[in-house]
Symmetry: C2
Subunit: 191 residues, 2 copies
């Protein structure tokens, strides 16, 4: 099992526009690769297999900002696997009472959330999302891999996947999947 | 012929560190792909062909900052082709008197420099470098293609290839070359 950051990112390094959308007229440009031409069955070959990996994950660690922007996905982001959210503040009412699979980790930060997610995932991967969460996970040495979906668009501004890290981090290219809609690159974090 | 931005960039979007070096212990991390393992003959296959394309270019447009950091490459960056540098200020003494192939374009900015470079290049490509220059060329609609050498490292900070653009720009993936040392992606700028 591995802890893997999954993020769609523009060629200029943004994961969302300044107003928290994903670019394009419909605000979903960065996620179009997942349903090319608007067709959820349009994914084929290696890209389809890559998207299918999400069905095999065992737990999710996500930033609070991402979770709240998405209303905690109604409590279920992928097949009902547990969702761990590191935060210094207790959850709001919906997350506290409404979603048995959503766990706010108030003490211990990202490292503790990753630890609990690994335990919950067992043999399966932990899916990590959110720019800030990923950055802290990298700094704390608890991120194993980075799966970037590099989308052929320049967004021009917004929120960056990686802003300032305290030091250089070497990566190893594990796999590149080349499609019309995106360049999917899997990196291993070298420590 | 086409005007093509060629840049090596880290996965977090930097083209140089805050002190204008290229990462790694030797300050050259982003350019290691060009001589893998320190061996200039180490390039093979498609990556070698890609690097070989530089021998076929007809002119260069480069930002003044890049040019001055490199001492104008002694007046010859690639096989003696003309180098055009858009700037509001006249060149310094070395560039004014020492290098017949270096042309400062004081009036007309990036668009004028690109126009002169295209004329000088004839049927051959114009090679563009520098983050700011590329950004202005994009905004002014005079950049045709972007060749990114995406290096498997997070630099953590520095100068970005693309900072803030005034609007979204759609790209088309032309070609991906997947090697151990870099993911080379060629984009066409869609207008």
């Amino acid at each position: 099992m591995a802890t893997v950051l999954y993020m769609s990112v523009s060629v200029d390094g943004y994961i969302s526009t300044p107003d928290d959308f994903l670019g394009g007229d419909d605000g979903n440009r960065l996620h179009e690769w997942y349903a090319p031409g608007g067709d959820p069955d349009g994914l084929t070959g290696e890209a389809k297999a890559l998207a299918g990996e999400l069905d095999e994950i065992g737990a999710v660690v996500t930033g609070r900002r991402t979770a709240e922007l998405m209303d905690h996905w109604g409590g279920d982001v992928h097949n009902g696997v547990p969702i761990f959210i590191p935060s210094h503040r207790p959850p709001g009412p919906a997350a506290r009472w409404g979603y048995p699979n959503v766990h706010y980790i108030i003490d211990g930060g990202v490292a503790r959330a990753m630890e609990q997610a690994r335990a919950a995932a067992g043999d399966r991967d932990v899916y990590v999302q959110g720019g800030y969460t990923a950055q802290v996970a990298l700094e704390e040495g608890v991120l194993d891999e980075i799966q970037v979906h590099l989308i052929p668009v320049l967004l021009g501004g917004g929120h960056r996947l990686f802003d300032l890290l305290p030091s250089e981090v070497e990566l190893e290219i594990v796999k590149v999947i080349d499609t019309t809609h995106a360049t999917h690159i899997r990196y291993r974090v070298l420590r």
